[in-house]
Symmetry: C2
Subunit: 404 residues, 2 copies
């Protein structure tokens, strides 16, 4: 008797719990993320799927009972890594639902005419190495391997070193045309990261697009000094400038409706209570459906940040870490998915996904499952058991239609 | 042939260098701070001083050639711990100058009529456990041991655990009336942390007072959420509030002349680039010669911070971590020191020192040595070799006058 989606989720509910931040922390290559990956491999093996981890660390588990050539495959899956102190469902729900969908397809005695693969992509959140969808960017060549391998985590470890310690060969990382050529269609199921389905009182939605987004690292340079002996007039305090930058970000975003602009990471250096910082590193996340607006917002933020810095005798640098244009999912596949999940609303999302990276190369679709809190990247993220099962059933319906 | 002050400083110039932040990082009980402490013990032993580390981790090295009872002693010394990424002289200069002064007193064949001790106090900066002058506060009872032992460093280690790992017995920590009763006078030499001596073109100053200061931890509570999917209107972003608090701190300080108010540590939680934080912890350092002004400044900051938080649907808490009133050094001892160092200007300081804690119990004085950059708590802090030697000579002059 195969388990329900909720039953599978219960098996991994405690993996990666974060006692300090609350919620779950599963950075890529951490023990928590590796534990989930091993659990997923074991689940795939139990289901007699052929498991393979490719050079980029992407897990592929093949269901191909007819022994067909591995071309034009239907691929479904998501990721297992998380933001620090995030929710339980962001990523794992898509992997678990893929496993459950395979069980449902077998129960229904579907005889696939195309191969099916469950896929798991590493570092979707970018919370360790700073670039979101790192696995799919490597695979598609959107991010060159030589640039990726030198990325560093907050402790100074390179991706190359961390991958090596996780048993991967850094020399095998990079664009993988053979892997891409196998995919005929990619379908990712994901917990919704907003209130769209709550407002529409529906359990499952079909994605229309992923709005464009980017990340910029800003550095404010000031002059480190003693907090007790330096008079206000003598200060070049980068924390004061960075605080102004945070408010500039909010103001400029408000002036451009539809913009989501956030500073979630803000690090004074050296970071002592009785020390005027010498530098602040802060990160800017900006998203808008129109790529030109995103560019204009970031330019305006940079301009006003420069003025704020000059007022304190500081300087500011802004460095683009990643930038993804708005992605409209394949209309033909989307219509087919909509026909298979009747009544499901069609929603755009402000969150990035590996599906958005793959969409530039293969027909891609997404399903979203209702999140009653509407809150995401937080322990408050939630999915009801019934909705999780409805999501898996919808995914099985979509995969069944594509496979036969 | 004993070494000069600069020669002694050169021996420890590389201990605790911080390749990431720049400068030196010697948190209490770190390997760098322990290495300096061992070096200091060895230097004391070479000078045939009787070395003892008390229950609070304070090093005492006695020069008592006449075998006098250990009462009414003249004590000199400073600290070896540093802020993160600080300078080389803040703390170690006082310890090294004390060693050099002992050499000079012996060269002069001083026959002391009172015992002399070189003392080293742990965690003067408070940069690991959040409370400055922790060693002298424990010794004097200004901080009860039960409160101190539960203090945690940024990694969650308690002071009790860290002290135990450093070979101390936490049960022996706390008020030590016997240690205090031995001290007849305390003289601390310290690098100047401002531009006073530079402006006056003098190498050494005598301290008049330490202006009152305190530290407060502020916590802004918001709602963690996804940076891409949460519209501006739906946000309760504590980073936006904390940024306003930083600017409030600057404004309120400017409205109360003579105030130094600083935010040098600012930590969004969880701290992800694509995550609206759920909480920000930030620390406030406020100093003013008049204690009533410090209180008024903090109250006004709290009031405006609360209003800023309310505007974003957040809340803010403010928690006093430490508060020290303005300390005027013993006038009789100060006049004696001034008579011994003719021409030395008299300066107040905005920096806290163990001397300020001890001053509530025993006659205490301080000497400051010129810092040509005027910058402190930064790698730019500096002392010229000649000035370092002048400081040791002045200290030897003062100690010699007090001992005979």
């Amino acid at each position: 008797m195969p388990e329900t989606t909720a039953g599978l989720l219960a098996q991994i509910a405690d993996t990666g719990r974060d006692a300090v931040r609350g919620g779950w922390s599963r950075p890529v290559f951490s023990s928590a993320e590796r534990e989930l990956l091993e659990w997923s491999q074991e689940q795939c093996t139990r289901r007699e799927l052929d498991v393979d981890v490719d050079g980029n660390g992407v897990l592929w588990a093949w269901w191909n009972p007819a022994g067909l050539p591995l071309v034009d495959a239907v691929v479904t899956g998501s990721h297992l890594d998380s933001v620090p102190g995030g929710g339980a469902f962001d990523g794992p729900l898509g992997v678990v639902s893929a496993l459950r969908a395979v069980d449902l397809l077998r129960q229904r005695q579907v005889a696939p005419t195309r191969p099916l693969a469950v896929a798991v992509f590493p570092e979707e959140e970018g919370s360790r190495f700073g670039i979101a969808c790192l696995g799919s960017r490597l695979l598609t060549g959107a991010l060159p391997a030589d640039r990726a391998l030198g990325l560093r985590d907050p402790d100074g470890n390179t991706l190359a070193d961390a991958a090596r310690r996780a048993g991967l060969d850094p020399h095998r990382m990079g664009r993988d045309d053979a892997a891409l050529a196998r995919i005929g269609a990619f379908v990712e199921l994901h917990v919704e990261q907003g209130r769209g389905l709550v407002d529409l009182a529906a359990p499952v939605a079909v994605a229309s697009s992923i709005i464009g987004h980017g990340r910029w690292r800003m550095t404010v340079h000031g002059r480190g000094d003693h907090a007790g002996t330096t008079l206000l007039a003598d200060r070049r305090d980068p924390v004061v400038v960075a605080a102004q930058v945070v408010l500039v970000v909010r103001s400029v975003a408000a002036e451009h409706p539809g913009t989501r602009a956030t500073v979630g990471r803000f690090q004074p250096v050296p970071g002592g209570t009785n020390v005027i910082a010498s530098r602040v590193d802060l990160w800017l996340d900006v998203r808008h459906p129109e790529d030109a607006v995103t560019a204009a917002v970031v330019e305006e933020i940079g301009r006003r940040a420069g003025a704020a810095a000059a007022g304190e005798g500081c300087t500011v640098e802004i460095h683009e870490e990643s930038l993804s244009p708005t992605v409209d999912f394949d209309p033909a596949l989307r219509d087919r998915v909509r026909a298979t999940v009747p009544g499901a609303p069609v929603l755009a999302t402000g969150a990035g996904h590996d599906a958005g990276i793959l969409a530039e190369h293969v027909p891609t679709a997404m399903l979203f499952v209702r999140n009653p809190t509407g809150v995401s990247h937080s322990p408050e993220e939630h999915v009801e058991d019934d909705d999780a099962e409805r999501g898996s059933v919808a995914l099985a319906d979509v995969l069944g239609a594509l496979l036969t």
